[in-house]
Symmetry: C2
Subunit: 357 residues, 2 copies
């Protein structure tokens, strides 16, 4: 007999207790139901399931028995009301087209689950769309919010800060009493790649950008241009991109179709770089790295594919998530707020696209 059929039977008065319990549109048995069936008090049931408390073996067995028959699972919802803690953390993402965010999300889920938190994923096309979502998050009383948005305006950050919940913001310059910024060392990466390009003999340079508002993009460019200037090199040609393959492809076509052909190209992320490589090789008949050196940022899986072999920087999702977990657990434990922005390093990973024999 299936569950549904049994439910139907229940309305005809033939069912056992297990079914009567669910008459009123209830899906779950409550501790009261279990108590009634076991012939004990509701508190006894609660104690049986809340670990540390003392219950006699007899009572325990009676309760466990009834619970099993009723498929009882304690609800965490009332606990939230009592403790003002939901054990829910939200992560805000703005589209997962970039494999780096996938990695972040994966690490995030695993680490926070291990820390006993459940993860709410929230999609916000832009930081503007955040306004619609924030009230809902507040309504669910999430313990913390992590923003993985590439672009986060001060206004949106303010709105988040008003919630009086710990907020961790990835690759953003914002920092205040409630918002902690966790970034990787974007500036340093820009400097490092400038050094590498020059060491490899490049004399002219190009940079394909990410979205204008992206802090990571700005910092990578700043480091790159700054170091080039220090080295006395010519400033790079710059073409706007958008962190996507197609953007890199199009930007590279624009940059290399004139008579100015940079000998080395730094892209704000790996997807852009891969798009650029394809544009150069497939559409323009240029060779990488023989004609043009190329580097990206993120070390997405495709960067290490044999056909690509992209020189890039490790975007340490695990490290950044670790920081986020630390901030949240500290805040949850009532500790002091984290005052300073946190920065994880982004080591260079050199592969074929910058190697000339």
């Amino acid at each position: 007999m299936t569950a549904r059929k049994k439910s139907a039977a229940a309305t005809q008065g033939q069912a056992g207790h297990a079914d009567l319990v669910r008459e009123a549109g209830k899906k779950y048995a409550s501790s009261v139901d279990v108590a009634r069936m076991a012939g004990v008090s509701q508190s006894a049931v609660s104690r049986t399931f809340s670990g540390g408390a003392k219950v006699s073996e007899v009572t325990r067995q009676k309760v466990l028995d009834a619970a099993k028959r009723l498929d009882y699972r304690p609800s965490l919802i009332p606990r939230i009301m009592l403790t003002h803690k939901s054990n829910l953390v939200a992560i805000v993402v703005g589209g997962l087209y970039n494999p780096f965010y996938t990695t972040v999300l994966d690490e995030f889920t695993v680490r926070f689950q291990a820390a006993g938190q459940q993860v709410l994923i929230v999609h916000a096309e832009s930081d503007h769309a955040l306004d619609d979502v924030i009230p809902k998050l507040a309504s669910y009383r999430v313990d913390a919010i992590v923003s993985a948005l590439a672009v986060l305006s001060p206004q949106a950050a303010d709105a988040l800060a008003r919630l009086r919940i710990p907020v961790i913001s990835f690759n953003t310059a914002i920092q205040n009493d409630w918002v902690t910024s966790v970034s990787c060392d974007n500036v340093e990466a820009g400097r490092t790649i400038a050094d590498l390009f020059v060491a490899r003999g490049a004399r002219s340079f190009g940079f394909i950008t990410g979205p204008a508002g992206s802090r990571a993009n700005i910092d990578r460019r700043k480091g790159f241009e700054g170091r080039l200037a220090e080295l006395g090199a010519r400033p790079p040609a710059v073409e706007p991109g958008d962190y996507r393959y197609e953007g890199g492809f199009a930007a590279a076509l624009r940059m290399f179709s004139g008579r100015q052909r940079p000998e080395a190209l730094f892209c704000a992320n790996d997807l852009l770089a891969i798009g650029a490589i394809d544009a150069l090789r497939q559409s323009l008949g240029l060779r990488v790295p023989e004609d043009v050196l190329i580097a990206g940022f993120d070390d997405i899986p495709a960067a290490s594919w044999a056909s690509i072999g992209l020189t890039t920087f490790l975007h340490d999702a695990a490290g950044m998530v670790d920081k986020a977990v630390a901030v949240v657990t500290a805040a949850t434990a009532g500790g002091a707020p984290v005052a300073a922005p946190m920065i994880v390093s982004a080591p260079l990973i050199e592969r074929a696209t910058t190697r000339r024999r």
Copy 2:
């Protein structure tokens, strides 16, 4: 004056109502707090925020005023207790290395958010690990669970069904009162690619598999082998893979290093196919499609990159999520359970890897 400083001041007795409210470790003001400040009853506050009810304009203003000063946001938690509905849906994923799952997750989040549900993401390495997670989901009283696990054992499905919650399982053969299966037409895709390979003149064939327990993998292979047999072609050589780039690379090396060299290779998904292409081109010096025709499944973004141009099948994440949303909303509305497995089509997308001039 920052929020934190104000709180500190509050303990010194200098603060306004807004801060006193939060003394007891409370993060949020409650409707009672608002009522007190506004000089009205708690029900008045509730009515003001629950839309449909009648409240006089004067009261409304007083309430809204106090609410603003207290930063009041109604909690949804008590509502869950009253209605037995959390508006929470969970999606179970087993690692996001496969870009297809990324797409699924993205579509999922957007669609369910639009439907007024919040999305809980749960990571389960294997279907075995599900056992640890299921109780937690039950504790949060999720309205439905969607499993995007490539492999879902009948045991795990049983455990899910015991929750008496609607469960939607992607690409799985399981179907019962509580579990609805949503798949794409994997068998048909296998048949289609067999036809295409033969039409393109291939005489010998290969297949690189996904994980053994994956229903999608089994069905794609079945369709492929079945149709080849019908066409009187030789059965394909088969090498085990795992849905990953590295697996495809290694499997292709094994398959093509002997003297048996299939003229056409079908891979259980795109990542495998891309790995195989790289192995053939970079390591074995074979040409694709001139020497070997290759096709995959999923149509991940990389499949359409200029350097790859992979013939594949559209794995319609949006379509599958649509079905899931439909099932959940139907079940939530108390409708009849969905009895039959749902299947979405997977149209062929032909690109360079199967085109010979």
